[in-house]
C-alpha cells in the first residue's frame, strides 16, 4: 500500500513537471510580454532600453534555459511577483485558495446532500412519476450553461426581487460575507447536482440487479435491510470514485461562478491573470489547480480500495 502511494506520488510529480513546462511555454505564446507592456506604459523607453531590459530579465534566452531558471528559483521558494497585484504570487493566492475552498466545499456538500437521497429514491422506483421528475431535474442541471444560470439568478434575486447582492465579497462581517455567498453557492450547486444524481441513480440500479440482492431477498431480509446493507454499500463504491474524479469539473464550474459573481477565488485569480498578462500568477495558479486535481484523483483510487476489499494495491 505504502509502495503504491509512493509510486503514485512520484507519477503525479512527473505529470506536474511536464505540465509546468507546457504551461510555461504556452504562457510565453500569449499576446504581449512584460517588456512590451512596459514600453506601452512609458513612451520614453527606447528600443535599446527595451533590449537591455530583456537581457536583464533573461527574456532574450532560449525557452528551455528560461524554464530551468524559473524552475530552480521555484524550488528555492521564489515564485515571483504578480504583475497586477504587485505582491508575491503566494501572498495573492493564499486568500484566493481559502475563498475557493469555502465556495467549492459548501456547494459540494450541498450537492451531495441533495443528490444522494434523490438518486437512490429515483432508482428504487424506476419509471415512476418521482423518478421521471428527478431525472428531468438532473438533465436540466447538466445541460444549463453555468454562466447563464448565474445571470438568471442575478436577474431574479438581485434585480427583480432585490433580496441578495449581485456579486462581490461583502465586508468582513460574517453576515455580509454569508449573504454574498448565497448566489454563488446556489449556482455551483445547481450545475453540480445533476451529474451526481445521474451517477447515484445508475449505480443504485446496477447494484439492484446483482445476484446477491436477489439472494438477500430470498433469504427473507426486510426491504430496508436489503437496501441499506446490500444495495447502498455496493452502489456507493463507483459513486465515491466518480465524485473524486469530478474534482476538475467542479473547479471549472468554480472558475465560471467566481468570475460571474466577483468572488475572489482561485478560478477568478487564474482567469484575471491570463486576461491581464500576469504570467507568474497564471502559471502558479494553474499549477496549483493541477496539483490539487492530481491529489484528488489519488484520493479517489485510495478510497476505492478502502471501500472495496476485493481491490488491493500492492
Amino acid at each position: 500500500m505504502l509502495r503504491y502511494i509512493t509510486q503514485r506520488l512520484i507519477e503525479s510529480a512527473i505529470v506536474l513537471l511536464i505540465m509546468s513546462f507546457l504551461i510555461y511555454g504556452l504562457i510565453g505564446l500569449m499576446p504581449g510580454d512584460p517588456i512590451d507592456l512596459m514600453i506601452t506604459a512609458d513612451p520614453k523607453l527606447t528600443p535599446e532600453d527595451a533590449a537591455r531590459l530583456k537581457a536583464l530579465y533573461g527574456l532574450d534566452r532560449p525557452i528551455a534555459e528560461r524554464y530551468l531558471n524559473w524552475l530552480s528559483a521555484a524550488f528555492t521558494g521564489d515564485l515571483g511577483y504578480s504583475r497586477i497585484h504587485a505582491r508575491p504570487v503566494l501572498e495573492v493566492l493564499r486568500p484566493a485558495l481559502g475563498n475557493t475552498v469555502l465556495l467549492m466545499g459548501l456547494s459540494f456538500a450541498l450537492a451531495l446532500a441533495i443528490a444522494l437521497p434523490a438518486g437512490v429514491i429515483a432508482a428504487l422506483k424506476p419509471q415512476s412519476a418521482l423518478d421521471n421528475t428527478i431525472n428531468m431535474v438532473a438533465f436540466a442541471g447538466i445541460s444549463v450553461p453555468p454562466f447563464w444560470l448565474a445571470i438568471l439568478l442575478i436577474i431574479l434575486f438581485a434585480v427583480v426581487l432585490g433580496w441578495l447582492p449581485a456579486g462581490g465579497m461583502g465586508d468582513a462581517g460574517w453576515w455580509s460575507r454569508a449573504s454574498h455567498l448565497v448566489l454563488p453557492v446556489a449556482a455551483l450547486t445547481l450545475v453540480t447536482v445533476g451529474g451526481i444524481i445521474r451517477f447515484v441513480r445508475a449505480a443504485t440500479i446496477e447494484a439492484l440487479r446483482q445476484d446477491y440482492v436477489r439472494t438477500a431477498r430470498a433469504k427473507g431480509l426486510s426491504r430496508r435491510q436489503v437496501i441499506v446493507g446490500h444495495v447502498l454499500r455496493n452502489a456507493m463504491i463507483p459513486v465515491v470514485t466518480i465524485l473524486a474524479l469530478n474534482f476538475g469539473a467542479l473547479f471549472s464550474g468554480a472558475l465560471i461562478t467566481e468570475t460571474m459573481f466577483g468572488w475572489l477565488g482561485m478560478g477568478k485569480a487564474i482567469y484575471d491573470a491570463i486576461m491581464g498578462n500576469d504570467f507568474n500568477l497564471a502559471l502558479i495558479g494553474l499549477l496549483l489547480a493541477t496539483l490539487t486535481t492530481l491529489l484528488a484523483n489519488l484520493l479517489a483510487d485510495l478510497t476505492y480500495a478502502w471501500l472495496d476489499p476485493r481491490i488491493s494495491y500492492r
Binding site: 504556452l26 500569449m30 445571470i151 439492484l208 471549472s252 465560471i256 494553474l286 486535481t293
Partner: protein
C-alpha cells in the same frame, strides 16, 4: 424493476408474438418508445433548419444581421424586429439564428473530430496492445485528470502569430472557429478512445477475428472491416452525448471572450454584452442562454435514448 430488459430484444424479435423483425426494425422501435429522445430529435431538426435558413429569413425580413443602428437600440419586439434589437440596434432574432449556426457547427464538427481521433487511437491501442496501449491510455488518463477549463482558456489565449502561423491564416475571419473546434477535439477524444479500446480488446480474441487472421487478412483490414463495425454503437452514443457538452464549452469560452470573436455571433458571445445590461435589458440575456439550454438538453436526451436503444444491457429509464 427492469430485470427482464436484457431479454426484451429476444422477445421483440418475434419469438413471442407476431412476424419476425429485423434488428434494425427492433432498434428503431425501441428508439421510438423513447418519447423524450424522439421529441429532442424533432426540436434539433427545427433548430438546424431555421439556423440554416438564416439568410432566407434575413432576406424575407429585409434586414441585415450585422448592421449597427445606434438610433434603434433596445427596440421592443415589433413587426419588423420580431424579438426586438440588441445594444447596437441589430435584430435579435437574426443574431440568434446566425449564432445558432456557429454553435451547432462547432458542436457537431468538434464532436466528429474528437470521435475520429478517439476511434483511431482506441483501435490502435486495443489492437496493438503492449507499449502503444499503455502510452495512449496513460496519455488519456492524464488529459482526463487535468482541470480542463483553465487550460483551455490558456490555449485559447495563445497568440497565433507568435506560434508562427502565416498571417493570412492567423488573421482570417474564421480562425476563431477553426481554433475552437481543434482545441475541443484535442481534449475531447478520450471518452471515445477508452470505449473503442475496451471493445477492441474483447473483439480481438473472438473467433471471427481469429478466422480472418487465419485466412490471411492484414492488420488494417481486420481493424477496419472486422472490428470497427462491431464497436460503432458505443461511438455513436458517446459522440451524441458529447455534442451537448461541447456546445456548453464553446459557449463558456465565447462568453469569456476567448472563443468565437465578434462580430460573428455565437450564443455564447451574445451573452458577453448582455451581462452588463441585465439591469436595463434583461431580455437580451435570456434568449441566447435559453437556446443553448434547449439545444444541449435535446442532445443529452437524444444520446440517452440512443444508448437505451443500442445497448441491450443498458438500464432503461
Amino acid at each position: 424493476m427492469s430485470g427482464s430488459e436484457p431479454y426484451q430484444l429476444a422477445a421483440d424479435a418475434g419469438q413471442a408474438a407476431g412476424p419476425p423483425r429485423s434488428i434494425r426494425a427492433i432498434l428503431w422501435r425501441r428508439f421510438l418508445q423513447h418519447h423524450l429522445a424522439l421529441g429532442s430529435l424533432v426540436v434539433l431538426g427545427v433548430l438546424v433548419s431555421v439556423s440554416l435558413a438564416a439568410p432566407l429569413v434575413e432576406w424575407a425580413l429585409g434586414l441585415d444581421a450585422n448592421k449597427v443602428n445606434l438610433l434603434g437600440r433596445f427596440l421592443a419586439p415589433s413587426a419588423s424586429h420580431w424579438l426586438g434589437t440588441d445594444e447596437l440596434g441589430r435584430d435579435l432574432l437574426l443574431r440568434l439564428l446566425y449564432g445558432g449556426r456557429v454553435s451547432l457547427l462547432v458542436g457537431i464538427a468538434a464532436a466528429l473530430c474528437a470521435a475520429l481521433i478517439g476511434t483511431l487511437l482506441g483501435l490502435l491501442a486495443g489492437y496493438h496492445g503492449g507499449w502503444l496501449d499503455a502510452f495512449v491510455m496513460r496519455f488519456a488518463d492524464g488529459i482526463i485528470a487535468l482541470p480542463l477549463l483553465p487550460l483551455l482558456i490558456v490555449l485559447a489565449a495563445v497568440d497565433l502569430n507568435k506560434l508562427g502561423l502565416p498571417e493570412t491564416l492567423a488573421g482570417s475571419e474564421n480562425i476563431s472557429l477553426y481554433r475552437i473546434v481543434l482545441l475541443i477535439a484535442l481534449v475531447g477524444w478520450t471518452t471515445v478512445a477508452r470505449l473503442v479500446r475496451g471493445a477492441t480488446l474483447s473483439m480481438r480474441t473472438r473467433e471471427f477475428v481469429r478466422a480472418a487472421e487465419g485466412l490471411g487478412a492484414g492488420h488494417l483490414r481486420i481493424m477496419l472491416v472486422h472490428i470497427l463495425p462491431n464497436v460503432v454503437s458505443p461511438i455513436i452514443v458517446a459522440t451524441t452525448l458529447s455534442v451537448g457538452n461541447i456546445i456548453l464549452l464553446e459557449s463558456v469560452l465565447s462568453f469569456l471572450g476567448l472563443g468565437i470573436q465578434p462580430p460573428t455571433a455565437s450564443w455564447g458571445n451574445m451573452l458577453t454584452g448582455a451581462q452588463e445590461l441585465i439591469w436595463s435589458a434583461p431580455a437580451l440575456a435570456v434568449w441566447p442562454g435559453l437556446l443553448i439550454f434547449v439545444t444541449v438538453i435535446a442532445f443529452n436526451f437524444l444520446g440517452d435514448g440512443l444508448q437505451d436503444a443500442l445497448d441491450p444491457k443498458a438500464v432503461q429509464g
